[in-house]
Structures are given as structure tokens and as C-alpha cells.
């Protein structure tokens, strides 16, 4: 029987209240939202917080998908199911729906949240790769106010983020630029599992030319940061199969997969290349035809 170690439970009634609780309780407090990453870790005693601050009652403040002028703003407590079902999000960033379809299963998606996924900072986590690929930024609120950090700075390493004690991730912002297309490709051992390897791609096109492009990988390194070399290789290039293969090669070389029960490092490197090619191909297709 797996049961978490004892802890004290507090329920936040507002974002301000949550931040006050987190500030008062200090480094031994953890935020619980959907709980579908944290509770399994607590049951295995891999995580042993002294306090849990439950923010599930803050849906009114923290659950939304809003389109502003040049960006999408998504509340941290927005659940996977709502991200999956959001047509406006899928229209702007098709890779969100690609990824959400293969995250866990529908029952888990009823509870798990965007903010929880990013704050878990698991190197295999799909939405972290999506947000890295889309050049998202994270709004973190603390007692002293808000700060905005890029996904690059948000993830400091496995299970480690820029969110300090007394702070709460409240929103994720994704820039919208014209001519965009994106796609997410995942290989998993069975439905709903963690990725063996995932690759996300996003391109912004002017005619047949990729003005900007980004690639993000999951499960092949300490974090899901986007592949810097891929952006350089894509910038200003005509879209072509040769280009996708070249960027796939760069992605595979840049990553650092480990042999484990999900596959050998060699196999994962092969997947990183192939999934990058497929994701780029679909991104360009979507950018040029606006196919969802």
C-alpha cells in the first residue's frame, strides 16, 4: 500500500492567500493542483513535503485560455482536458492538441494542469517541450510582485524550476506571430506513457521561406529546452526535405539520451532525428495550408 508520509494540508482561497501561505510555510511547502505528478512521488516517498497548499479552488482566477493581441495567455490551473478541447489554442498552435492527445489518459487529463506539468519539470514531460518550442514565458508571482521568465530560464534542471519558495506560477504566455505552424511527435511504449522521445517543431513562414523555426525535445536530456542549433539552421531557409533531415541531425547530435528501460541511447538519438523531421514536415504543411 502506497501512502504519502504525513503532512499538513492547507487550502488556498485566493492567489494572494496561496502566496501568503507559501511564504509563511517556507521551503518545506509544496503546491498541489491536479496532484497527478506530485502525489505519485509522495506515495513513493520520493517527495516528502511537510505542507501541501491546495490551489484547486482557484480555478476562477487561474483557469483560462485568453487570446490577447499578440500572445495567448493561459492560466496555470488550466487542466489538460480544457487545453485539449480549446479550438482557439489548437488553431493557433496545433502542437498543443497533438501533445495533449498523447498525455496520460482522459481521466488523468481531467485533473492534471499546465502549471503543474511545467513546475514538475520532468525532463520527459510533454507540455514543457511544447512550451519550450513555442518560446513561451512564465509569469511567477510572489510577495514582491510578478516576474516573467522565459522557458529557457524557467527550467533549471530535472525537477528544478525558477519558482522560489513563496512564489506561484500563475500564467503561461505564448507569442503569436503570423505564418506559424507547429506539430508534436511522440513515441511511447504504450498509450498514455511517458515519452521514449518526443519532438516538437514550430515554424513561421513567409511564402516558402522559414523566417524562424524552433525545435524542442523531451526525454533526451536534463531538460526540454529548445535546440539552439536548430533555430540557426532553419532561419531564412527554404523549406525542403533536405533541410528537415539536416535539422534532425543537429537535434540528434545536440541531445544527451541515456540508455534505460525505455530504450538504448542510440535508439533514442535515432528517434530524436526522425521525430524532428516529421514534426518539421507537418509544421511547414500546417503553416502553408493552415491545416489544423
Amino acid at each position: 500500500m502506497q501512502v504519502p508520509a504525513p503532512f499538513e494540508y492547507e487550502r488556498a482561497t485566493s492567489v494572494e492567500h496561496a502566496i501568503g501561505l507559501l511564504e509563511r510555510l517556507g521551503s518545506e511547502a509544496r503546491v498541489i493542483a491536479g496532484g497527478h505528478s506530485l502525489l505519485p512521488m509522495m506515495k513513493l516517498r520520493l517527495a516528502v513535503p511537510e505542507y501541501l497548499v491546495d490551489i484547486n479552488d482557484l480555478e476562477g482566477e487561474l483557469s483560462y485560455v485568453r487570446q490577447a493581441d499578440d500572445e495567448f495567455r493561459i492560466g496555470a490551473l488550466t487542466r489538460h482536458r480544457h487545453l485539449l478541447e480549446s479550438d482557439e489554442l489548437a488553431a493557433a498552435f496545433p502542437m498543443f492538441r497533438d501533445a495533449e492527445k498523447v498525455i496520460a489518459d482522459p481521466v488523468v487529463r481531467n485533473r492534471g494542469t499546465l502549471g503543474g506539468s511545467l513546475c514538475q519539470a520532468d525532463p520527459s514531460e510533454d507540455l514543457s517541450a511544447v512550451c519550450s518550442t513555442l518560446d513561451a514565458s512564465c509569469v511567477i508571482r510572489g510577495p514582491g510582485g510578478e516576474r516573467v521568465v522565459s522557458m529557457h530560464d524557467f527550467h533549471r534542471g530535472p525537477w528544478e524550476t525558477a519558482v522560489d519558495d513563496g512564489e506561484l506560477l500563475i500564467e503561461v504566455r505564448i507569442p503569436v506571430r503570423p505564418g506559424g505552424g507547429s506539430a508534436y511527435e511522440k513515441v511511447e511504449r504504450r498509450a498514455g506513457d511517458w515519452a521514449v522521445v518526443s519532438a516538437g517543431a514550430a515554424v513561421w513562414m513567409d511564402g516558402d521561406t522559414i523566417t524562424e523555426g524552433r525545435v524542442g525535445l523531451a526525454a533526451v536530456g536534463p531538460n526540454t529546452a529548445s535546440v539552439a542549433g536548430a533555430a540557426d539552421a532553419l532561419r531564412g531557409q527554404e523549406a525542403s526535405e533536405d533541410l528537415y533531415v539536416e535539422v534532425g541531425r543537429i537535434a540528434a547530435e545536440s541531445c544527451d539520451p541515456r540508455t534505460d528501460q525505455r530504450g538504448s541511447a542510440e535508439y533514442k538519438r535515432h528517434l530524436a532525428a526522425e521525430l524532428t523531421v516529421r514534426a518539421l514536415r507537418r509544421s511547414v504543411q500546417r503553416a502553408t495550408t493552415r491545416e489544423a
Binding site: 501512502v3 508520509a5 504525513p6 499538513e8 497527478h36 509522495m42 489518459d105 481521466v107
Partner: protein, 165 residues
């Protein structure tokens, strides 16, 4: 800590440890053993119950998180001695052998049919993809849910036809 949870329409007040999982609250505190406790790792789905009308895995939910909320378990499907169509469907189409996965399957199926009265086979398979059955190979479970969907269509027709269908 004291928790107040409305379970199957009845308010339940209990003093529990904050670390108590919902599945143990239901089974051990309330004696509602229809909800099964399976893999304990959020994978098998036999512990699925509804929290605020949405299916969730009760092995990965704290009872404390449900305080002030409503929970519906498999015991609530039967109403006034009459089985829910999904329960009847599992009987008609042999949707279970050992029965261990059944409570979670039933609650997920009922939630699916409440949102989508005429699901395709693919939609049914997607809906139950968070549940594991080791007996049936899923074919009879899918058929059972299709049977239940058909019954809903029949009863809807009966209502619109003034019971003449």
C-alpha cells in the same frame, strides 16, 4: 483534519489524516467497497469515481482535496433497484469476467455517455484508455458501452413518442 464530502448525495463528515487517499476514504471510512483499489499508481483506473461530475482516479486524489465537493461512486449507478444502462450492458454483452476493473469502467462509461450519447467505437476506446482490463481484451467492454448507448437512444425515442416506441 475534518473533511465534509457529499458522497452519492449524502453529506459525510469524518476526521481523517490529510494524507488519506480518496480511495481509502471511500472504502475504509465509508465502507463503499464497490470502488476498487488496484495498481495504486494512476494506471489501472479501477478506482475511478466522479468528483464534481468528472471521472478521476481516487488513488491519486486526497480525501482532503474533496472536502466541500461531491463524489459519486459505482454504488450510485443503480437507482431504485434499477440498474443503470451501462451496468445492464455489461451483463448483456459479457463486459466483465473477473470484475476487478468493472467499477472504474462503469463510471468512465457513464460519464462518456452523459457527454456523448452516440459515441463511435474509437471514442469509446479513447474514453476507457485510462483503464486496464486483463480478462476481456476490451472487445466486450466496448460492446457493453455500445449496448448502453443504444438503450439511451431507445429511451429517448420512447420519451419523444410518448412511450410508443
Amino acid at each position: 483534519m475534518q473533511v465534509t464530502v457529499t458522497v452519492n448525495g449524502t453529506e459525510q463528515v469524518r476526521d481523517v489524516e490529510p494524507r488519506m487517499l480518496l480511495v481509502h476514504f471511500l472504502r475504509d471510512e465509508l465502507g463503499l467497497t464497490g470502488t476498487h483499489w488496484g495498481c495504486d499508481t494512476t494506471n489501472c483506473g479501477t478506482c475511478v469515481v466522479w468528483v464534481d461530475d468528472e471521472p478521476v482516479k481516487s488513488c491519486t486524489t486526497l480525501a482532503a482535496m474533496c472536502s466541500g465537493h461531491t463524489v459519486r461512486t459505482v454504488e450510485d449507478l443503480e437507482q431504485d433497484g434499477e440498474l443503470d444502462p451501462v451496468q445492464q450492458g455489461f451483463i448483456e454483452c459479457h463486459g466483465l469476467q473477473c470484475g476487478f476493473c468493472t467499477p472504474g469502467m462503469l463510471m468512465t462509461a457513464r460519464a462518456l455517455l452523459d457527454r456523448n450519447t452516440d459515441p463511435t467505437e474509437a471514442e469509446i476506446r479513447e474514453a476507457i484508455s485510462g483503464q486496464i482490463c486483463r480478462c476481456t481484451g476490451y472487445a466486450t467492454i466496448v460492446r457493453s458501452i455500445q449496448w448502453a448507448a443504444g438503450q439511451s437512444a431507445v429511451s429517448a425515442m420512447a420519451t419523444t413518442n410518448g412511450g410508443q416506441a
